[in-house]
């Protein structure tokens, strides 16, 4: 396994577009060539070498290339764009569009990640040890091609619209989630282990969402089905019990929404429909 370490040379002020930071672009290249990779600092075209100190050596193929980023890269965007294999480890917090359209490999962030983590992701794994912003896995405006495959794990909290337009794959939020997890979702699984600000599964057509914590309410276009003992994520059983809802009926959807019964006593009134 080849390892390349990148360190910002200065504190970045304007946004850095760094879609060239991928194992695919690094593999098989000597440091001098990696340093020549194109980057954008605001409206100036520049190179990786101008912005980052690069050290180490890359592997022959993306699969055996690991990129380690040290320092503050909160302004740096699109790291891991379309990567197919290999690893990126970010030892801090990172900017928007991390792992956009990623197809394979693994990205680990030790700090926080800004919005659009794994935007339109097609495979691989992203793990954020801190918090994530909004629109995890979501496509750009107007587009309907959300996350298709792969896994995103967020150990902290996530913002609004986790898994917007999701078409497959798995998103796990170990902390809390904002409004609208699984909005427009068609397929795939979202697990929120903490609380959720609400409106889960709005306009969803399919897929599964489970909330283990508190939810203020369930949308009126969801219908209560039954109480379920457990919920499965990637083959692993998550113990309930859960209120199970189907929706979004406004979209003739058949998505499944699991909400913890214990943390949501205020939803008990639904139980009258069991009789």
């Amino acid at each position: 396994m080849g390892e390349i370490t990148l360190k910002p040379k200065v504190t970045f002020k304007v946004p850095i577009i760094a879609e060239t930071i991928t194992p695919d672009n690094f593999a098989g290249k000597p440091i001098e060539e990696i340093e020549k990779l194109e980057m954008w600092e605001g409206n100036r075209k520049t190179t990786l070498g101008d912005l980052f100190e690069a050290a180490g050596s890359s592997g022959e193929a993306p699969a055996d290339t690991k990129i380690i980023i040290e320092g503050d890269v909160r302004k740096v965007r699109r790291i891991g764009y379309k990567m197919t294999d290999g690893q990126i480890l970010i030892k801090g917090s990172v900017g928007m569009y991390l792992g956009e359209k990623m197809e394979g490999g693994k990205i680990i962030v030790e700090g926080d990640a800004d919005s659009w983590v794994g935007a339109g992701m097609k495979g691989g794994q992203i793990e954020i040890k801190g918090n994530a912003g909004d629109y995890v896995g979501a496509p750009y405006r107007g587009d309907t091609k959300g996350m298709k495959k792969g896994t995103i794990i967020i150990h902290g909290n996530a913002g609004n619209e986790v898994g917007c337009w999701m078409r497959g794959g798995t998103i796990i939020v170990k902390g809390n989630a904002g409004l609208f997890p699984g909005i427009h979702m068609k397929k795939g699984t979202i697990l929120v282990e903490g609380d959720c600000a609400g409106r889960c599964g709005a306009m969803m057509k399919g897929g599964k969402i489970a909330i283990l914590g508190y939810v203020p309410s369930v949308l009126p276009s969801f219908t209560f089905e039954e109480i379920k003992k457990s919920f499965k994520v990637k083959g692993e059983k998550i113990k309930g019990p859960f209120y199970l809802f189907t929706g979004d009926l406004n979209e003739n959807g058949a998505g499944k929404l699991y909400v913890s019964t214990e943390k949501n006593k205020h939803l008990q009134f639904y139980e009258k429909y069991l009789e």
Binding site: W116, G133, D134, N160, L179
Partner: protein, 131 residues
């Protein structure tokens, strides 16, 4: 002190006084205000025209309390758009471009003896220097 949901918005007075100038007396009179439900005023022990301090997670500001003509809206406070309202707003937009300018949790307390800052002082306070 009472807890309210704060909303901001346009008002006719704000619209008219804006055209008289952002530094005019009228603008400050019409915009540095907080419209409250009569019941909320009573709870606060404040009468229309007295100053109150509005606090949110994001900031605090002294404005003049007025009795709302668009009541009932118990538990809801209204401040017209302008520099006094915006200090109380979150800067985060939830990645939409739009800060949440309506529906923010706030507290209101009487501040009869505290001064309402004019726009110049307000900006100085926000940016921390002479503009």
């Amino acid at each position: 002190m009472i807890k309210v949901i704060l909303i901001t918005g346009r008002s006719l007075n704000q619209g008219v006084s804006k055209e008289l100038g952002k530094f005019s007396k009228e603008y400050m009179e019409k915009v540095a205000v907080c419209e409250l439900d009569p019941e909320d005023l009573k709870l606060l022990g404040v009468s229309s025209g007295q100053n109150v301090k509005v606090k949110t997670k994001y900031g605090e500001v002294v404005v003049k309390a007025t009795e709302s003509t668009q009541a009932p809206h118990k538990g809801i406070a209204f401040i017209p758009y302008g520099p006094w309202a915006s200090i109380l707003m979150p800067s985060a937009t939830e990645s939409t471009g739009m800060p949440s300018l309506k529906g923010i949790e706030a507290t209101i307390e009487p501040a009869k003896d505290e001064e309402i800052l004019d726009p110049e002082k307000l900006i100085k306070m926000v940016v921390g220097r002479e503009p």
